[in-house]
Amino acid sequence: MALLKNLAKVIRSKNAGALQLTLDVMFADEATYTRVRDSDALNAHQVAFLYGISHNKVSVIPYDVAYAIKVTIPRAAPSGDPTDSDVYGAQQHAPLLDIVVPD
């Protein structure tokens, strides 16, 4: 097994508009990408648990041509709201780093 942060080249978060957050996990090569994609380690239930939301609000889309897996979730508050803490949504990726990917 391995941690996602040791397999991915990029793990990033960013706004997808003011109401959603999108997390991209990108890999350097097809083999690593396929391994993680097929392991199902990064699934809607896992993301829902990490981000404290319902799994049916999580979208997970494998994107083969760029060796990437895209996760989109609703923001806890709209970008720039008084209760928001990250206007660009650029530092919300940390919970994904330590996801365990089985061999």
């Binding site: 960013k14 997808a16 508009g17 923001r75 970008s79 720039g80 990250d86 530092q91």
Partner: protein, 468 residues
């Protein structure tokens, strides 16, 4: 049939090649003159530049100001205007001034006119307005033409009345109208980023799937280029059945993976990208590295929608914000921040009440950097190991005076109040600055993030033509 279906009709005669240069990710972010000159020498059909985004948050739309400096905008605009006029090609600017509202458009117009006067340039210019009046939007809400875009409630009439500023995001059709009217320079209000680049191709009968996808790929310009150091120009060449993207700068390259990955960026899905006239579908797109610098893309489709929709972005004003930031180094205090904050909050409320201010009249927010200020309740690390933390306190109230008054009370309480085991009784906070209290400005929030159905894609986008 809607107008847009006809405006995005593929020409049976073919388009040959339509070439374009995307200047930079945002007007004011810069580009190299070398890259731009190389593009111009290669012979471009038009120049495009995005000038805005909602990513910096609701403030800039609310306040009507850009999020880049005037000087940087002028530098970029000056070089591209001179290039466009010298080569007799159109210059299309999308989301002028950062937000596309009336003050944003006026800001950009003033810059253009200033540059033109200084350089002795003359041209026909179109301003495409995109800020909506409340009466217009109320009619649309009442007619059931507005619906949520993502996780937000239905737009109510009260929401519309509470709006400080709202803009609609245009597609390609207003650009078509402006070009048909003879404009060489177009300053568009809020615009789909990709529409800047899809406008001329769709007018000339290009395949809309390829035209929109090319627009999507190059709208952030240098974001698809390596090495990624600063922003720079990107060249797009659109053909009948593919498009090719290459960097303007001779020492840079576009790697296949960056081009393919770009539809991930800031979008909920890389396969289905919604535009006013329909959905760009990249499911069947292919990406081929044709030389070390260039990538060829084919197979992208545009599924035209039955109903034309434009995105609405609107903000309401919440109040005025003041803030202070301070460090805490006392280990005893760091271990009991929650009770320290709740004690201070209660004391501030008591003092405010004594001055006739109810606690519902203001919002006081404490952020503890070094603990969970970035992720809040989602922070997986529950116990901080930090030997120092940053405390950021902000107050939002109806006006600046009230906000400053409450914040000053909070500052005093946080600095001087006792807590169990307190040893350093002279003060709890290390302020980096004097003055400690900073007036930040008016606070806005996005309360409109919806789509609006249109029968006429031009309806909310009046075009104003001027001779510069």
């Amino acid at each position: 049939m809607l107008d847009h279906v006809q405006t995005e009709k593929v020409s049976s005669a073919g388009i040959g090649e339509i070439s374009m240069v995307a200047m930079t990710g945002c007007l004011g972010y810069g580009f190299t003159e070398q890259a731009f000159q190389r593009a111009l020498d290669a012979g471009m059909d038009f120049i495009g530049c995005d000038a805005g985004s909602m990513d910096p948050g609701p403030y800039y739309l609310g306040e009507g100001i850009p999020f880049v400096s005037r000087e940087a905008s002028k530098r970029d605009l000056s070089i591209m205007l001179e290039g466009a006029i010298a080569h007799g090609i159109p210059l299309l600017i999308g989301t002028s001034g950062g937000g596309g509202g009336e003050p944003h458009l006026a800001f950009t117009r003033q810059l253009v006119e200033e540059i033109a006067a200084e350089k002795g340039l003359h041209f026909k210019m179109a301003m495409v307005h995109s800020e909506l009046g409340q009466d217009y939007l109320l009619k649309k809400v009442r007619a059931g033409k507005v619906r949520p875009l993502g996780p937000i409630g239905e737009l109510t009439e009260d929401d519309v009345r509470n709006t400080h500023r709202v803009v609609a995001m245009m597609g390609v059709e207003p650009y078509h109208e402006a070009l048909k009217a003879g404009a060489q320079v177009i300053l568009a209000g809020r615009s789909s980023d990709a529409a800047i680049y899809a406008a001329i191709p769709t007018m000339r009968g290009a395949d809309p799937g390829l035209a929109w996808h090319l627009g999507k790929v190059i709208e952030c310009a240098g974001a698809v280029v390596e090495p990624k150091i600063g922003q720079d120009c990107v060249i797009g060449r659109l053909h009948n059945s593919d498009f090719v993207v290459e960097p303007g700068h001779p020492d840079k390259c576009c790697p296949r993976i960056r081009i393919a990955a770009h539809t991930l960026y800031e979008n909920p899905s890389p396969y289905h990208l919604i535009e006013p006239s329909g959905t760009l579908d990249t499911t069947g797109s292919t990406y081929e590295q044709i030389d070390p610098r260039s990538v060829k893309v084919a197979g992208s489709k545009m599924h035209l929608a039955d109903v034309y929709t434009v995105k609405l972005e609107g903000v309401k004003r919440l109040g005025f914000r003041t803030m202070f930031i301070a460090g805490i180094r006392d280990p005893g205090l760091i271990s009991q921040m929650d009770t320290y904050i709740s004690t201070n909050t209660a004391k501030v409320a008591e003092e405010a009440a004594g001055m006739g201010i109810a606690d519902s009249d203001y919002t006081l927010t404490y952020r503890i950097y070094g603990r969970n200020a970035v992720m809040g309740s989602l922070e997986p690390v529950k116990e901080t190991q930090a030997h120092e933390v940053g405390l950021l306190v902000d107050c939002i109230a109806k006006d600046e005076a009230t906000s400053r008054m409450i914040l000053a009370k909070a500052r005093y309480c946080c600095l001087h109040n006792d807590f169990p085991g307190r040893m350093c009784i002279s003060g709890n906070l290390a302020f980096p600055f004097s003055p400690s209290d900073i007036s930040v400005g008016w606070v806005y929030s996005f309360h409109i993030w919806h789509v609006m159905e249109l029968e006429d894609p031009l309806e909310p986008f009046p075009i104003e033509l001027v001779e510069v």
